[in-house]
Structures are given as structure tokens and as C-alpha cells.
Amino acid sequence: SQQGEEDPQALSIQEGENATMNCSYKTSINNLQWYRQNSGRGLVHLILIRSNEREKHSGRLRVTLDTSKKSSSLLITASRAADTASYFCATDDDNYGQNFVFGPGTRLSVLP
């Protein structure tokens, strides 16, 4: 099964609402990253959070990490139509020679 799995698979909200996506993983990690992918494009790095950090902010983004529960959440506040995209979490995994393992993603639709 996936090292990182996002939840929900799809999320639809109205502009101005907050969006929360979750990521669960199975093994211990050194850090976790969140990426965004607009349709048919490459991924864009959003935030990296290290295993000794619990929360990180970047603009309208807030990421939390709970290593005891092996989970992370990405909160997008005051969402905009331009936030419509797929969001992926990626964890480093020694089983993959320190490469990042990406989850299947959450498809976020922000309706105007």
C-alpha cells in the first residue's frame, strides 16, 4: 500500500471556504512535503515540514504534522478558484533509497 495516502480523494467547496486535506503514512520519516498539481502540469512544491516540527505556515497554507499518529494535514484558508488542483503529500522513505514517495492525491475543486 502507499506510504503516503491523502484523504479525501476529492473535495469540492465554495470560494472563501477553508479546505482541509489529510495525509497518512506508515513508516518513520525525516520530513514530509506537500505539492500542488494543476491539470496536466508538473507539481509545484508548497511546504516542507520536518519530523521535529508540528506546524508550519506559508501564506494561506497551514500544515500540521503528528508523528505519533503518522499523519499530516494541509489547510488552505479563504480558498480561491485558482486553488483548484490536485494536492499530494510526499514522504521520504529509506526503503526507497531516501526518495520521496507520493500519495495518490486529493482533487480539490473550488467553486466560484
Binding site: Q2, N30, N31, Q33, Y35, G40, R41, G42, L43, V44, H45, L48, R50, F88, A90, D92, Y96, G97, Q98, N99, F100, V101, F102, G103, P104, G105
Partner: protein, 113 residues
């Protein structure tokens, strides 16, 4: 600063043919990663090159191969193409292997007829 560039943007092949995809990393980045993303799915790790050497490969058959050149650009070769190889192939680069964000190109859309 130029981002990661991939070529071609689209590639159409038939079963049994061979495909070559190219990637130029961000200047100064030594690590290059290749991923396969089938339609609507997540990324599957293919290959990782660093300093000209293959460091790791994902769970893909040997007909997926590649190399990294002295200027750190990279090539992904797929031999004996099969219908299920149709996907978006993404290349990413980073300064270091560990704890650094990966910077992605926009990918090559490979379609097998």
C-alpha cells in the same frame, strides 16, 4: 532562473516502438528523478540519477532505463512500448537528495496507439 524543462511535450508511438524523453534540470541541481503518472493517478517513482550515476529505481521492468549526462541533463528510454505505458512522465530535479524540495517540469505526455 530557468525551471526544469522536458521535451518533447507530447509523443505518440505505437506498440513495440521505443521512446526517448529528455529532461534538463535547474542549473546547479545534480539530482534528477523520473516519475510516471497514469491518467488520474498519483506519481510512481521510476528512476533517480545523481552525479551521473543511477542511484535507485522503482518497481518497473528493465525496458525502462535512462542515463544522466555530465551536464546533469537526463534521458529516459522506454523500449518495447506497451499500451499501459501511456502516461505523463514527469522529471524533477533537486540540489541534494535529502530534505530538499523537488522542482518539476511539466512532463511529456506519451501516448501509445
Amino acid at each position: 532562473e530557468a525551471g526544469v524543462t522536458q521535451s518533447p511535450t507530447h509523443l505518440i508511438k505505437t506498440r513495440g516502438q521505443q521512446a526517448t524523453l529528455r529532461c534538463s534540470p535547474i542549473s546547479g541541481h545534480t539530482s534528477v528523478y523520473w516519475y510516471q503518472q497514469a491518467l488520474g493517478l498519483g506519481l510512481q517513482f521510476l528512476l533517480w540519477y545523481d552525479e551521473g550515476e543511477e542511484r535507485n529505481r522503482g518497481n518497473f521492468p528493465p525496458r525502462f532505463s535512462g542515463r544522466q549526462f555530465p551536464n546533469y541533463s537526463s534521458e529516459l528510454n522506454v523500449n518495447a512500448l506497451e499500451l499501459e505505458d501511456s502516461a505523463l512522465y514527469l522529471c524533477a530535479s533537486s540540489f541534494e537528495v535529502h530534505a530538499q524540495p523537488q522542482h518539476f517540469g511539466d512532463g511529456t505526455r506519451l501516448s501509445i496507439l
